[in-house]
Symmetry: D2
Subunit: 225 residues, 4 copies
Amino acid sequence: MANNIQKLIDLFSKFPTVGPRTASRFVFYLMKLPKEKIEELIASIQDLKNKIKFCSFCFNPFESSTGSNQGEKQLCEICENTNRDRSLLCIVEKETDLASIEKTKKYHGLYFILGGTVATLKKSDIEKLRTKELEERLRSPQSFGIITLFKEIIIATNPTPEGKATAILIERTIKETLNPARNAISGGVKDNLPKITHLGLGLPVGGELEYADEETLESAFEGRK
Amino acid sequence: MANNIQKLIDLFSKFPTVGPRTASRFVFYLMKLPKEKIEELIASIQDLKNKIKFCSFCFNPFESSTGSNQGEKQLCEICENTNRDRSLLCIVEKETDLASIEKTKKYHGLYFILGGTVATLKKSDIEKLRTKELEERLRSPQSFGIITLFKEIIIATNPTPEGKATAILIERTIKETLNPARNAISGGVKDNLPKITHLGLGLPVGGELEYADEETLESAFEGRK
Amino acid sequence: MANNIQKLIDLFSKFPTVGPRTASRFVFYLMKLPKEKIEELIASIQDLKNKIKFCSFCFNPFESSTGSNQGEKQLCEICENTNRDRSLLCIVEKETDLASIEKTKKYHGLYFILGGTVATLKKSDIEKLRTKELEERLRSPQSFGIITLFKEIIIATNPTPEGKATAILIERTIKETLNPARNAISGGVKDNLPKITHLGLGLPVGGELEYADEETLESAFEGRK
Amino acid sequence: MANNIQKLIDLFSKFPTVGPRTASRFVFYLMKLPKEKIEELIASIQDLKNKIKFCSFCFNPFESSTGSNQGEKQLCEICENTNRDRSLLCIVEKETDLASIEKTKKYHGLYFILGGTVATLKKSDIEKLRTKELEERLRSPQSFGIITLFKEIIIATNPTPEGKATAILIERTIKETLNPARNAISGGVKDNLPKITHLGLGLPVGGELEYADEETLESAFEGRK
């Protein structure tokens, strides 16, 4: 196959969930698209790069109205919205998790996107996460434009092995970061530490007891109401 | 194929989850089993019918030590065990759900097996469930050998559409049954009614926020701790 | 759970494709069956053992009309039927393959059921197959009640790795067996050896070129017509 | 979510096999790519549109070395290669089928890409296929730069219901087109018509007799060798 076709197949193969076969189908699809549609796609990808910024507090990507002043710190719509409950912080693995939670319209606090999970507690693994950035935001949210004292931090990583390992790490990070910091702010009153919570485990809607693992079922019993 | 083979295939095809192809494989499997193994299987099936009774309180099948006095009321190991917390009643759809919950070793109350679910609230559907039997056990558990006043009734049907419809029906049945009964027993004190609870919904172990439906995610947030 | 229930679950767990969870469901299903249905099942399983014989030529199980003269050699309906083309022999892995081929109604020859496949060409593996029995039937089919000289032997093992290894082994067995035997019968005329054939590979009905592996697609091209 | 993000999600959602959830993941993936990688992707998509031509004979896309003389007729590498056997024509549904066949390296003839299949033999359906273009190439291949008299035409549509309906249509088209044309060329000698063939059906590599449908198994028997 022609070199350029192969190159584009290779580039699409790096897209998440895409293998070489699907990448080929994408290329054949593009070949048949009219020129205007191709130009629309290219313009849209370029726009993404030019207009999208990452929120200086939570790392959520958002479309900046003010254009390309890239040095300037900017908050996303969620962080900027003073009607949201700034005493709540929800730590998620990735952007799509934030989007899923927003869709429920039941959570009104702030977020922080970790940028992944760790499989182990090795230093090299941990450094891939935004733990340093989390520490800074916990210590002085005001320097990122957020005036608050967090009352609750929800560690909303997935209940997968990686998500659980990450939750342990993040919980430790939060405690180590906030203990001295809070002491300074609150004059040493220990119980000012925010509550650290985790999402409730249980049967998912549509699930069945018969096929639930024991930990899920235990949690469903403990969380009954 | 020979008539008898076909007949056995038909009988196995009625087993849960078994289609004609699997039923054929069962028959070919049996053909090759040595005579002793066949006799062991037959004896085991006969024993099941002869020795197994259904608990006169919760309908859980159990092996009766006293043999075939079929008229006599008998309790299963769970209902008979006075160390279990008889102030808790967990209502499940079917035997396998009871078995799944027992495996967690975290629930120590009693059970009641409904015998199914309803897809609608039609009378003909409802009559397939053991609602009458549930009413009797709620009204006078002592006449089934259980001395108790239930403090909590857990409706542990599955969070499927059928399970939810059934839960609504059962909750209504419990309230209608216990209100007057309790009044009589407690001298009219209303708040003596047992608490009615439902299993906690949430993300199952191994699940991911990204793929959770909105109701599950909402519940996971509400049930955080 | 009661011992007898557990024992029956264990016995069902040995059925093909059945795991412990499905086995439990079988047991709960049987518990609820009325007594007559249980007796019908037991009688049917007993009949299977009493009336079913394995064809003395092809090993196909069949229902014997003459009852339990177990010493006597008996042919199944297919082998007994003199209208079938006795110059054709189709060697299959197992009973269900024979049944699948019979369903097409396009093959009118005889069969031989090998009783499995080999993963390797080790002696211990080979001895699990009915190769000795195949040799005897190839050498003197008449001693099993089949008067014929095979003109074509179709090795109809599956095109899986095991099926292919088995086909190689069987082809070798046939050649080693028939060469001297035929020589004796035919007065040394070599080309009297039966033709050895294999099922045609190709795209299955409903399949797609895009998802076919290369060998399948090659065969589909070679077998075009 | 920002308008531009949503627009790009919509555009990716139209890619084959991509739904909104996967499209979102593509967008989040692109957001995190460094600028150079985005530019590489955009350049590659642009190149595809600028440099890729469709072969004037078979409609296979290929990279043109001579650039953008778009009026000019050009043959792809396969059609241009005089070492290929130009007496063979293989008619396929789509580009990926051609690619799959080329991978086997066993077919050395020419191709024609129909551009789809028909579910019915309605005129509106048929007009979506390149039947007119096929007729022209069959009548006078020389006007497309191919000097040949086809000896065999392989209709290599998939053995799916649509592929089979399409094969019937294409076979009829070929016969109606070539009969008079051939007569003129060959001076009326009827049997000069090319042989029309279809791919061999059979068990695919890795398949099993037990799960094959009857037509597949019949074909496997007929195609034995």
